[in-house]
């Protein structure tokens, strides 16, 4: 004789754990923290090594020099480079009940990065049963991203750039965490191989509903050949915002900032 068991959704009594409410509170904290951010932009690429962080840091500095309040969240938890690019001091981060104060880097850009929190040269390692880390590591990295968004006292910002690692995983986590999918700025290098990888990432972002701000083609010139930036811009009907040579000048970044604004 089989038991007559009601289903999960049939049980509607209040639950002291309130796990859905706890998750909702986490999302609310992120939304409230970012309510004073004018434009949040995810800098992404399906391809590694194309200079996302380099572009992010210089674009942020250029906007800051133009008088804008700018923040950078380094969401590359496993390979953070923003602290070096923005030359943040290794002084302790100030904490208080309201959150953590971001570090202030070159040209006054506010930033937070796992690179400020980890031992010098150490990989980001978590406590826990390592032989089963595939089960929980992704959830922990998503939680870390959420805390860097919601627990940092960004204050009023004109721009907050979220520098994503290669691939699409962190973008998906970010889109889940935010009240609406983030605007996306895409970086590629000229090669067809890069174009292939970036195309997949752009498709994910478009399907998720992110506004696509445009493509930046970086490392233009020998030895790289190709027109990935142009091709992606045509295919997705978005602007090619800049073609950045190997040795960009301040004017390169200034023109990019003007086009983006």
């Amino acid at each position: 004789m089989s038991l007559n068991i009601r289903t999960y959704r049939d049980l509607a009594d209040s639950d002291r754990s309130g796990l859905p409410e706890q998750i909702a509170a986490q999302r609310r904290r992120v939304a409230e923290r970012l309510a004073v951010v004018g434009r949040l932009v995810a800098v992404m690429s399906g391809k590694g090594g194309v200079g996302k962080s380099f572009v992010t840091a210089h674009l942020a500095r250029t906007l800051a020099r133009a008088g804008k309040a700018v923040g950078v969240l380094d969401a590359d938890l496993n390979g953070p480079t923003i602290p070096r690019l923005l030359d943040t001091h290794r002084s302790p981060l100030t904490t208080h009940s309201g959150g953590v104060e971001p570090a202030v880097g070159l040209d006054g850009v506010r930033c937070i990065s796992m690179g400020m929190l980890l031992e010098e040269g150490a990989p980001m390692a978590f406590r826990g049963p390592q032989h089963e880390s595939f089960v929980w590591r992704g959830a922990l990295e998503a939680a870390a991203t959420r805390e860097l968004l919601g627990d940092v006292c960004w204050g009023p910002l004109d721009w907050l750039f979220v520098d994503l690692p290669p691939g699409i995983q962190r973008y998906a986590e970010l889109a889940d965490l935010l009240p609406k999918p983030p605007a996306v700025l895409t970086v590629t290098i000229p090669t067809a191989e890069s174009g292939d990888a970036v195309r997949r990432a752009l498709r994910v972002a478009r399907e998720r509903g992110s506004p696509l701000l445009g493509v930046i083609e970086n490392m233009v010139g020998p030895p790289f050949a190709g027109d990935a930036g142009d091709a992606l811009a045509r295919e997705f009907n978005i602007p090619l915002l800049a073609r950045i040579p190997w040795h960009p000048t301040p004017d390169t970044w200034h023109r990019l900032a003007e086009r983006l604004a």
Partner: protein, 147 residues
């Protein structure tokens, strides 16, 4: 997750949470009608997954500390990453020698935050001295699986 007392067809309610200290978790639920209790026992991997979500089974009465998940779960954090380890004031609750010794075994990256959590817990409950027993109780009451 929810628990159903099939005999009574009633949703069971959260009773208590226990942390044996070996990475596992025990959570008891009781049927409000017949009083039958059941315990959900999770292995370290399952416990870790819950901690990874930043939620507390049974809920929590205190607000999470800033970057609580990062600080409690990252094993390679820099000792001087935060300034809160120096914030304990003269009018803070007392710490017994055993409690101080136990706190000293907490990694520096997270120690300041953990110390504050225990001190807040004691202050809110009018506890004058933090002992290992108080720390054990706080871990369970606050659901500090990772600490």
């Amino acid at each position: 997750m929810k628990f159903l007392c099939v005999d009574c067809d009633r949703q069971m309610t959260f009773e208590e949470r226990q942390l044996p200290g070996d990475g596992t978790l025990a959570v008891a639920f009781r049927c409000p009608k017949c009083g039958r209790a059941v315990a959900m026992l999770t292995n370290p991997m399952e416990t870790q997954l819950v901690s990874s979500l930043g939620v507390k089974i049974g809920g929590s009465t205190v607000q999470p500390e800033p970057l609580e998940t990062i600080r409690s779960m990252v094993a390679t954090g820099r000792d001087d990453a935060f300034d809160d380890g120096k914030r304990e004031t003269g009018n803070a609750v007392r710490w017994s020698g055993d409690a101080v010794e136990r706190l000293s075994r907490v990694p520096t990256f997270v120690r300041g935050m953990v110390k504050k959590i225990y001190a807040d817990y004691a202050r809110e409950r009018g506890i004058g001295e933090i002992t290992p027993a108080v720390m054990d109780r706080a871990r369970v009451d606050l659901g500090l699986e990772g600490m």
